[in-house]
Symmetry: C2
Amino acid sequence: MEKEKLYVIKIGGNIIDDEQKLSSFLKDFAQIFGASSHPFRSRGLLVHGGGKLATKMAAQLGIEQQMVDGRRITDAETLKIVTMVYAGLINKNIVAQLQSNGCNALGLSGADGNTIKSHKRGSNSALGGGIDYGFVGDVDAVNTGLLQSLLAQQIAVVLAPITHDGNGLLLNTNADTIAQETAKALSNVYDVELIYSFEKSGVLLDVNDEASVVATLTPTYYQELKEKQLIFAGMIPKLDNAFAAINSGVSKVIIGKAEELQQLINGNSGTAIVNA
Amino acid sequence: MEKEKLYVIKIGGNIIDDEQKLSSFLKDFAQIFGASSHPFRSRGLLVHGGGKLATKMAAQLGIEQQMVDGRRITDAETLKIVTMVYAGLINKNIVAQLQSNGCNALGLSGADGNTIKSHKRGSNSALGGGIDYGFVGDVDAVNTGLLQSLLAQQIAVVLAPITHDGNGLLLNTNADTIAQETAKALSNVYDVELIYSFEKSGVLLDVNDEASVVATLTPTYYQELKEKQLIFAGMIPKLDNAFAAINSGVSKVIIGKAEELQQLINGNSGTAIVNA
């Protein structure tokens, strides 16, 4: 039997921070995945990052943010803030907006229904690299049963980048990783396309030229572009994640502009990451 | 066919504010409603209030809390805070703690899955009484389908006191009311007992004497005690709610000490509100 289609869509922090862009993205999302697109609608799962709101909140509360190599350390106070801002303020506002646009949505952290279990990143682990990132979680398992049951009820799931370790600890977790791990796990059940939507038009050959989008990126071409240093450094972890995803069952990964969600889904915009 | 039993349990703010008491309450809850009590376990739904955390957070952020007649006005900034604190920090910490105690839990606001729809309280409404309470919601409808589906999956639902109006607005909503409305709506499907657990042993004849608990409160006895002014003023809205609930399908309402959850369920503690 052919698998049903599922779109796992990550929206980046720059969209979250821009009220207008977020609202227009959510309208598009609701049009594609909401009740009005019935009976032809596909199932959608949205993963959101945090944006600058948590940093702003920390500053307002006078909590100093520790940074190491440009990356934030999640101390106990910062964990409280990201839990509030990501799983509370941002997640619930996204859900309420989707509801108002006719899309029945439901927000979850990884603790809810034990959806995403993680462990605290050790400073001696590969991802730790000698640095203690604090209350940061690396994903161990995505439990697909609950997600399937919600998706089957035509509910769009909205995941916040907060997971738990099963011992009562909430952990700050990279939203790109959550999108990738969720897409991989659900590809056992669905034909999954993973879309990373952000402020750029896709993978650009020239970071200052939005017209220089690479339409299709194969592993060979990716190697070639990396060797020529034509890939923007910040994109490399995202692309490594994307290739890991298509090697683990995800049928397609698309990277592109949040403003062009329908075109990304139709294959008329963005960069498609493919296996060969 | 006999209806399955469901316990809707409200925990009050004083328990939320006390880390030890909350943790011990959640252990009890998990023992009664978690996997280890299988196959004899009942289904449980937990509704939590907010406690003093939101007020503390507002003070830290320098947001002045407007009070009218001892009741907080929820302005736009306060709405953000309660959304963060109730639906984020408190709700997700409760869920993570229940998970760590072997109880699969899932936290929801009223916006999630359109579970609880409300409208902004008008200052000219009965509950408004001439006062503009700001972003406060009065419950219109509880959608039981999703709740049933989660409870059938042996998931303990944890409701935060935030609802939505269907037009994108989140609203601060009284947790006692949420517990009551949810219990009433679910009594179509389940045999529902509603438990208000807080810091007191039940309805007390002498507010300073924990031994003066009224074991059973009928409408007639309630009238009598009110006329003699033997009911603490703060308890009257709670008790009016309780009587409204048993008149709308809820089979039993129990009011008592959070520390004695198992005894409240067994009928060995607290005040039982009954119809006659």
